[in-house]
């Protein structure tokens, strides 16, 4: 177990370091540390407008969401992992050449990914906060406790989605029943206690009042979810030759109004047949946003009128921009290398598919606006969310080309991404808070988006296709 695990860790390191250099990858956790360290100095200032409990809530929500977004391991089959890393021969799908079961290799893969994310994101953030504690009036003990509860929040998100995604891979009906049961339980808890069930989130409870009993219960729940998920994992069967009806030609005709209809038809088939269109929508979009909605709703009293809807629209926009990773994760440049297709054409095609997928966040924001009784601001909220999403994807395409999943761990890339997206988010949050209808001005983001996409095409046409 340990040899395979350490070999996978080395492999993960080399996948990234061969792409953009060892130093750029090694500096990634240092940047997260720096952000947390500097951010800790803002805590005393933020406390003047936001109670400490709510700040803790926001940070835990972010780590829960990080766990949720990376936890969809159950959706991974050999083929997706292969496509995700091009033609590199990864240990994760070498079961047939090693005397090891696919489930065992998969278990190592999941543990390796969890450890990697912990060292890349969770630990540097908590450590930054701990190091800053002597200067910010926060006791080292509470900083250490925060590191523990953030780790638990991350693991709760990861294990819950890992469990749900493996259930989904087994049976969509069973997943529906599980989600229904969770929804009923959630609603009952809210009715019986009269409070937002988010306040019963174990890491939050632990953070407000530490007890070893709660810690043990949390660990037991995490262990149970993880173990059941591993047992339920269904390795992709190899050699089963299912027959499919020809969907390509009809789909291409339907997409004739789009640029590059054959590429759009191929992307759609990839998403549909891999099960990702529904799976990713549930686990990488709807679930994180539903969670974030419950957390954000606790901040209502501290935000300007209608502020909650617009904060939510912006958050939806940022998460919706990650749909670009859905449409790029199945493709290496390999299948196109023998065809007259430029990388710029592929970027255009991926962005076209991405644009079609933006109907999902647009509809989602509209539904939330109506359900929250803010239908009057439906249009500005949708415009703001979609504009942010398109702008963020423009930045992503410019910085990462067709490899956002990998290049995001280049510290230079992430730094520039955070600056370019962060500034825009701050500006438009302030504008929307001033007057909800001013959010319509976000359409102006179409200009930098267009410029970024043009620059992306020129930039990525000038370099060799990504390889490992």
């Amino acid at each position: 177990m340990f040899e395979l695990f350490t070999a996978m860790l080395k492999e993960e390191w080399r996948v990234h370091s061969t792409m953009f250099g060892s130093l750029s990858f090694a500096l990634f956790p240092f940047m997260i540390f720096g952000i947390a360290f500097m951010g800790a100095f803002l805590v005393p200032l933020m406390r003047t407008t936001l109670p400490a409990g709510n700040l803790t809530l926001i940070i835990h929500a972010n780590y829960l969401m990080l766990g949720i977004m990376v936890g969809g391991f159950g959706l991974l089959g050999n083929e997706v992992m292969n496509r995700r890393f091009g033609q590199a021969s990864l240990l994760a799908y070498s079961a047939r050449s090693l005397p090891l079961s696919e489930r065992f290799i998969f278990l190592n893969f999941v543990v390796k990914d969890t450890v990697y994310y912990f060292f890349l994101w969770v630990l540097p953030f908590g450590f930054g906060y701990i190091v800053a504690s002597p200067f910010t009036g926060v006791s080292p003990a509470s900083a250490l406790l925060l590191l523990l509860t953030l780790t638990l929040a991350f693991l709760f998100g990861l294990c819950a989605v890992f469990f749900l995604s493996t259930v989904y891979a087994r049976s969509r009906t069973v997943l529906g029943l599980v989600l229904l049961a969770l929804g009923v339980g959630w609603g009952s808890l809210a009715i019986i206690t009269g409070t937002n069930p988010v306040l019963f989130f174990p890491p939050l409870l632990l953070n407000s009042a530490f007890s070893y009993t709660n810690l043990l219960i949390s660990c037991a729940v995490l262990g149970l979810l993880f173990a059941v998920a591993v047992l339920l994992f269904n390795p992709e069967s190899v050699g089963s030759a299912k027959i499919y009806r020809d969907s390509f030609a009809p789909l291409m005709n339907r997409f004739s109004f789009l640029p590059n209809p054959p590429l759009a038809a191929k992307d759609t088939i990839d998403l549909y047949r891999s099960g990702s269109m529904i799976g990713q929508t549930i686990f990488s979009f709807l679930l994180p946003l539903a969670v974030i909605w419950f957390f954000l709703s606790l901040l209502g009293p501290f935000l300007p009128p209608h502020g909650l809807l617009f904060i939510f629209a912006i958050t939806t926009g940022v998460i919706a921009s990650t749909m670009y990773t859905w449409v790029t994760m199945f493709d290496s440049f390999g299948p196109y290398a023998c065809l007259p297709v430029a990388i710029s054409t592929l970027i255009t095609s991926k962005l076209t598919t991405f644009s079609v997928l933006q109907l999902i966040p647009a509809a989602f924001i509209a539904v939330v606006a109506i359900l929250s009784g803010e239908a009057a601001y439906l249009v500005p909220a949708v415009v703001l969310g979609c504009s942010v999403s398109f702008y963020a994807v423009g930045v992503m395409a410019w910085l990462c080309g067709l490899s956002p999943n990998v290049l995001v761990y280049d510290v230079k890339v992430l730094f520039v991404y955070l600056i370019l997206v962060g500034i825009v988010l701050s500006v438009f949050t302030a504008i929307a808070f001033t007057n909800p209808y001013y959010a319509l001005s976000a359409v102006i983001l179409a200009i930098p988006t267009w410029l970024l996409v043009q620059k992306a095409k020129v930039r990525w046409d000038a370099v060799d296709p990504a390889g490992f």
């Binding site: 083929e79 292969n82 496509r83 033609q87 190899v238 050699g239 089963s240 030759a241 299912k242 027959i243 499919y244 009806r245 020809d246 969907s247 390509f248 030609a249 291409m252 209809p261 054959p262 590429l263 038809a265 191929k266 088939i269 990839d270 047949r273 891999s274 199945f330 493709d331 290496s332 390999g334 299948p335 290398a337 023998c338 065809l339 007259p340 297709v341 430029a342 060799d464 296709p465």
Partner: protein, 241 residues
């Protein structure tokens, strides 16, 4: 004779590794040209540079009169390519992949053409199976089909017979020989020397990125030499240099 492929001082380095070192090479129209070399000699890199899949670090490459460095998409539009590893898109079926290729290359009447190839390479029963579920041999048949379905003036093939059974190898060798008789050109890279001697009209030997020899096969056989022995003596000599 019209020159179809022209490489001048073509070089490629990957970090500290010199994959291809100032190679000069010409291939004329109607040739079945074999690029030979041991593993890691730079054959695949040469094909990638000639088809614009990777940029050279030095020199020029002209294919069908088009600069492969500045206009790789036009080159790929005119030629057929079978890459080293068979990589048809996982979630398309075999027929859908050929429809995809036809749409990108703007080939008409794809159904008839595809059916001919399915019959010719004996994989009609796999036309509606996802590419990810095909055996390596069937994937290679599919890649072979996509490279020739538009009847290109030039086909560049990395290891043409890899993954094929002996019957299929025979069929493919005959097809390639017949294809060049129609005035088309084929550029293959291989380390199966017997095959190269049997089907190629011209050859070049690469070793450690350096071009050791280039010339017609007939010149060799007229001297009573055989390609495998010639290749081995040249490469062994170069190893000791």
């Amino acid at each position: 004779m019209t020159t179809i492929i022209e490489a001048r001082d073509l070089s490629k380095t990957y970090g500290d590794v010199q994959a291809v070192n100032h190679v000069n090479l010409s291939v004329g129209k109607g040739a079945l040209f074999g690029l030979l070399g041991p593993n890691g000699s730079g054959k695949t890199t040469m094909i990638k540079m000639l088809t614009g899949q990777t940029r050279p670090t030095g020199g020029t490459a002209t294919v069908l009169g088009i600069d492969a460095v500045t206009d790789p998409v036009s080159v790929r539009g005119r030629v057929g390519i079978i890459p080293e590893q068979e990589t048809p898109p996982s979630f398309l079926t075999a027929i859908e992949y050929l429809e995809f290729v036809a749409a990108v290359r703007k080939i008409s009447d794809i159904e008839t053409k595809a059916d001919w190839w399915f019959e010719f390479l004996d994989f009609a029963d796999k036309k509606n199976v996802l590419c990810k579920d095909l055996s390596r041999g069937t994937r290679q048949k599919l890649m072979f089909t996509q490279a020739f379905i538009h009847e290109p003036e030039l086909a560049l093939i990395d290891e043409p017979l890899i993954n094929f059974d002996p019957i299929m190898q025979d069929l493919v060798k005959d097809y390639l020989a017949g294809y060049v008789k129609k005035g088309k050109t084929i550029f293959i890279s291989t380390h199966i020397l017997e095959v190269a001697e049997e089907i190629c009209s011209g050859f070049a030997i690469l070793h450690k990125g350096n071009l050791l020899h280039a010339g017609p096969v007939a010149e060799l056989t007229s001297r009573g030499e055989h390609l495998p022995a010639f290749f081995l003596s040249l490469v062994r000599k170069d190893r000791h240099v």
